[in-house]
Amino acid sequence: MSDELKLISAAKAGSAEAFADLVNSYKIRLLRFLLTRCSSHADAEDALQDTFIAAYRYLHSYDPRWRFSTWLYRIAIRNAQKIRSENVVEFGDLSDEESDPLLHCIAASETENLWLCARRVLKDDVFTATWLRYAEDMSINDISKALDRSDSWTKVNLMRARKALDSEMNSNLNGSEAYG
């Protein structure tokens, strides 16, 4: 049994310390993802907090056949959507750098970060699928589960995302010498 599964079992048995360890091992990764999905840093933090609360509350329903990260991301995606729908702020409105939480986290010299471009050209679900695939190394099957989509949807849209990002990358390379 892996360390993570041991922690999950202990947390299910009522160990708050074990769940705190799980929180510590996922908080950075989840916050980084939520910053790409929320309209402000505060919203991303709220979504992170809500995600861990929901995960702790419903830990008994976690099925070990899933990867824990898949289950956790599924909750995080739902919380981010919920917070965004409450605030009704679209990413298209985040034109100024002051309000975009992702821009805050990218050094000034790296404003051509491919994820900024991805967020501009990809739809929400496709962006999330791309993030889970390339930033989190998730399998197609896990991404489909996290997004509640079919495997074929995930494959097709990842391919489309690659195509879109490839062309963006090439146009940037043509426009300037280096990318990123």
């Binding site: 299910k12 009522g14 708050a16 769940f19 705190a20 929180v23 908080k27 950075i28 916050l31 980084r32 910053l35 790409t36 933090e45 992170l48 907090q49 861990f52 609360i53 702790y56 509350r57 419903y58 830990l59 008994h60 329903s61 992702l102 986290c105 990218i106 050094a107 790296e110 970060n113 491919l114 994820w115 991805a118 791309t130 993030w131 390339y134 930033a135 690659r162 990002l165 490839d166 990358m169 990318y179 990123g180």
Partner: protein
């Protein structure tokens, strides 16, 4: 790993994220206030031990009372003439034949009508025999 995948991975790592102490504290405090749900169903309502016996006895008493009431009512006497024997076997249904007949207009005494009809039949027979060459 291809160029795009490498670039995406590197760019994701370049997104600098820090979880502040305040957020850590917030999460810890909020988790303390959460009680994990358990899959167990809520316990069944406790009933007194004699509940089963009491409900069974009530049921039996009600059944006996209904039997007694039904038996105490006088039986209606049916006259023998009214008892009609019915065949336990359903009657065979005979197929209806669609006779190509016409009703005769009886205008004379029956004997006369019968003779007329018989002579009509005879004439018709002869006509048929003639037609078929007999």
């Amino acid at each position: 790993m291809d160029k795009l995948a490498t670039q995406l991975k590197q760019d994701a790592a370049r997104i600098e994220v820090q979880v502040s102490d305040e957020l850590d504290r917030r999460i810890a405090v909020s988790l303390q206030g959460v009680t994990p749900l358990t899959p167990e169903s809520p316990p069944a309502r406790q009933r007194p031990a004699f509940f089963w016996w009491a409900s069974s006895l009530t049921g039996v008493a009600a059944a006996l009372a209904i039997i007694a009431i039904v038996n105490s009512q006088p039986q209606p006497t049916v006259p023998l003439e009214q008892v009609v024997a019915t065949s336990p076997v359903p009657e065979a249904t005979t197929p209806t034949i669609d006779w190509k007949t016409e009703s005769a207009m009886l205008t004379r005494p029956l004997q006369r009508e019968l003779e007329d009809l018989q002579s009509d039949i005879k004439k018709a027979e002869e006509k048929v025999k003639r037609d078929i060459g007999l």
